[in-house]
């Protein structure tokens, strides 16, 4: 610390640090919350903030990434009982208890010891078939023994029952959660991903990337005109751009819908329910970027372009070879801003896009939240996923964000 400071200032500095830390924690908390929810079992928005291995699952992420989830659902209509055979093996009877239609079965005899050693991913396979007879009540295990055996076999058995139509059903004895208490018969259930989340992500990236690139093209050229040329109405156009930008696009949703409906009847690829139309509507938000880039251009000495003109450069060459390379930091900023605002944009995209496979992630992720069933866990995974491209673009662009590139060109 080069400057001597009074004690008073040190306290103030400490409290400023404290404030900043609290503030940062406050801001980061929602993000951590969403990440936590995406790993939490079940689709609950409330629960432990810090996930534990017992209560965590990758199911939401699997669904988001398009991988089917294998789960076990309790068969409430089944009672299980174990019978010891003479060879020291065990047979499991699953009988209907009347609350739910269920086809009873009996397993082939299996060794409890072998089953106990099975691992989570390599369960102990047991064949089963429809029972010919009822279990021999003499060899039936008592309730306590059944309970102990069920605990020991929790999640270790893979009972396959051949059906008449040739398909197989898989059952297991499991708890309803990892630390659970309620044992019973569970039937394997395959949950297919309900929505094409990765496809939505690709749509988002595609639309955002093309939009950001086009915004750069449009705004640099217009900013060049506003910064370097003097023409009638220049100040008026600049000011009106700024003022019209202040009205949120949501106010114009009806107009946007009608407009693109009409455009689509002439050029379908720019109409409703097309990414072309969405990109076209996003290009309207170029005014702020023009102002930003114009401000930067005005800090660059015009004599650089005049020197280039004397060197034989056309205005386009002077712009592309001299001005643009010097403006890379601001172009990176504008690209990132345009990219982020496009990725996160909902209202216009939700109006213009209709087909399930055309949606962007920001719009599509809301499909998880319908009033009858808020799938918070699946939603959280998709939400975190939508932050991914933004992070990647930011990390890539960071290289170009260095300032001071124009230093040394002019003055002594």
């Amino acid at each position: 610390m080069p400057m001597v400071q009074s004690k008073n200032l040190k306290y103030r500095k400490a409290s400023a640090h404290l404030f900043l830390i609290v503030f940062l924690a406050f801001i980061i908390f929602p993000l951590l919350m969403v990440v936590t929810i995406s790993f939490r079992q079940g689709n609950y928005s409330v629960g432990d903030v810090i996930p534990t291995p017992e209560t965590s699952t990758l199911d939401h992420w699997k669904l988001a990434l398009g991988i089917p989830v294998h789960g076990y659902a309790r068969v409430s209509g089944a009672d299980i009982s174990f019978v010891k055979t003479d060879e020291g093996k065990t047979v499991l009877y699953a009988a209907e208890n009347g609350t739910d239609p269920f086809e009873a079965f009996v397993t082939a005899p299996f060794s409890v010891k072998d089953a106990e050693h099975a691992s989570e991913d390599q369960r102990f396979a047991v064949k089963a078939a429809s029972p010919d007879t009822a279990p021999d009540s003499a060899n039936l295990l008592s309730d306590d023994e059944t309970y102990a055996l069920s605990s020991a076999l929790n999640g270790k058995l893979d009972i396959s029952v051949a059906k008449d139509d040739g398909s197989e059903e898989h059952y297991s004895i499991e708890a309803n959660d990892r630390s659970g208490t309620s044992y019973g018969l569970y039937r394997e259930k395959v949950t297919n991903p309900p929505f094409p989340v990765l496809h939505w992500l690709w749509n988002s990236i595609k639309v955002a990337f093309i939009t950001a690139a086009l915004i750069i093209c449009l705004s640099t050229t217009s900013a060049y005109a506003f910064a370097r040329m003097r023409f009638k109405g220049r100040a008026f156009i600049l000011n009106s751009m700024l003022i019209f930008q202040m009205f949120p696009a949501v106010l114009a949703l009806v107009a946007i819908y009608a407009l693109f409906n009409r455009i689509g009847s002439y050029i379908p690829s720019l109409g409703l329910n097309s990414h072309g139309g969405l990109i076209l509507s996003y290009l309207g938000g170029v005014a702020l970027h023009i102002w930003t880039i114009k401000g930067y251009f005005e800090t660059i000495d015009p004599s650089l372009e005049q020197a280039a003109a004397i060197d034989g450069a056309t205005p386009w060459q002077a712009f592309r070879l001299i001005l643009l390379p010097l403006s890379v930091p601001i172009l990176a900023v504008v690209f990132i801003l345009a990219f982020i605002s496009t990725i996160t944009e909902v209202p216009v995209a939700s109006i213009l896009l209709m087909d399930m496979d055309k949606l962007t992630l920001a719009v599509g992720a809301q499909q998880y939240l319908y009033p009858q069933n808020y799938l918070w866990g699946d939603f959280a995974a998709a939400a975190v996923l939508s932050g991914l491209p933004i992070t990647v673009v930011f990390l890539l662009a960071q290289k170009w964000l260095v300032g001071g590139l124009t230093a040394g060109g002019v003055k002594g």
Binding site: I310, A313, G409
Partner: protein, 383 residues
């Protein structure tokens, strides 16, 4: 190499008003000349240069370079090179790329480009820096890169827009000499803009003095001539006051006697001064201003003081060792203007005392009420 000819050139930035920036500029610049445009701020000297470069359009009048009318020709086709006040180096390119930029745009082959750049770098002593970016260069080196960027283009006219004004004093002297050497070596037509009259006097073959345009004036080109012509025979009071440092002293008076080769002037303070000036177009009793340069003043008792002497109250003295300045209040000067004396010898005098100074008759300039000079019949030489 080419002549540059300007005839009746006028510049008006805002056609809605009649306020011209430049009016009726006629210049005939010969091939190989080193021309300096000099004048106070706002006189349009940079504008004139930029008009020759093609960075500003010409409102009316003609510009010909090498016999070809250039009014509507873009800068790149005028075969000129320009060094900007701010150097305008391309910050993202190395020194080599900076110099090669124009040649690359002309699609020259790589070997020719390399040869030309290396040759220019050799002239300017830039070879060790070719791979550096401008950021890593000192002010003087950047200046030379800017000049090198012109040289590689082999233009017929070099334009310099106040190239030394961003350098410190020592470096400025050094670069001034280098520019003079460069002119000798490449022998190109050079047009150079500066507000520093030392640069103008030392570098120029011919100086063009411009003044801020007055509404009624016919032109703001005051005088175009060699440095000594301007020093010894300024055509008007503006040039006389602008060329020379410290400024020429002006004393108010009226003509009392008109002779063949000299005339007598009675100052408002009463002294009568003889001036070696042909005042035959004037008349007795006419109000005039007598001009005398501070460095031409002599001691009151010197035999050279044949023009007369004036006296006044000393305000400040400055002793620089090699020279001695004395500022005094002379009643014949305009209100608030000090009368400056420059001697090569020191005088033991304090502020508040009265001092008399001698004026050689041949050192006097005489200007009429419009500021136009009467022709001098003799030129004063020191020593």
């Amino acid at each position: 190499m080419a002549d540059v000819l300007l005839s009746k050139v006028r510049k008006n930035y805002n056609p809605a008003t009649l306020k011209d920036t430049l009016r009726n500029i006629n210049l005939d610049i010969k091939d190989g000349d080193f021309i300096v445009f000099v004048g106070p701020s706002g006189c349009g000297k940079s504008t004139l240069l930029r008009m020759i470069a093609g960075l500003e359009d010409i409102t009316s009048g003609d510009l010909t370079i090498g016999g070809k009318r250039m009014n509507d020709v873009p800068p790149s086709e005028r075969n000129i090179g320009m060094v900007f006040q701010s150097y305008a180096l391309y910050p993202h390119m190395t020194v080599f790329e900076n110099m090669a930029f124009g040649l690359k745009l002309k699609h020259m082959d790589k070997e020719t480009i390399r040869q030309r750049v290396v040759h220019a770098a050799d002239i300017l002593g830039l070879e060790p820096f070719l791979e550096r970016k401008p950021k890593a260069l000192s002010g003087g080196q950047r200046q030379r890169v800017a000049i090198g960027r012109c040289i590689v283009q082999q233009p017929s006219v070099f334009l310099f827009d106040e190239p030394l004004s961003n350098l410190d004093a020592a470096l400025r002297v050094k670069m001034r000499l280098e520019i003079a050497k460069l002119h000798r070596d490449i022998n190109a037509t050079i047009i150079y803009v500066t507000h520093d009259q030392v640069e103008a006097m030392t570098l120029a073959d011919k100086i063009c003095v411009l003044s801020p345009l007055k509404a009624s004036a016919e032109s703001n080109l005051e005088q175009f001539g060699t440095p000594l012509e301007l020093y010894n025979h300024p055509v008007n009071q503006f040039v006389a006051g602008f060329i020379g440092s410290p400024k020429m002293n002006f004393l108010n008076g009226e003509i009392t006697e008109i002779g063949d080769k000299e005339c007598k002037v009675k100052l408002t303070s009463g002294e009568i001064i003889t001036a070696k000036v042909n005042a035959s177009r004037g008349e007795v009793g006419q109000k005039v201003q007598l001009g005398v340069r501070p460095e031409h003043l002599v001691a009151a008792d010197s035999p050279k003081a044949d023009g007369g002497k004036i006296s006044g109250k000393v305000i400040v003295t400055e002793n620089l060792g090699a020279e001695f300045f004395l500022y005094m209040e002379a009643p014949a000067c305009d209100e608030g203007v000090d009368f400056t004396v420059k001697h090569e010898f020191a005088i033991d005098i304090k502020a508040g005392e009265t001092y008399s100074v001698g004026i050689p008759a041949s050192a006097c300039h005489l200007f009429d009420a419009e500021g136009l000079a009467f022709p001098r019949t003799e030129v004063y030489t020191r020593g």
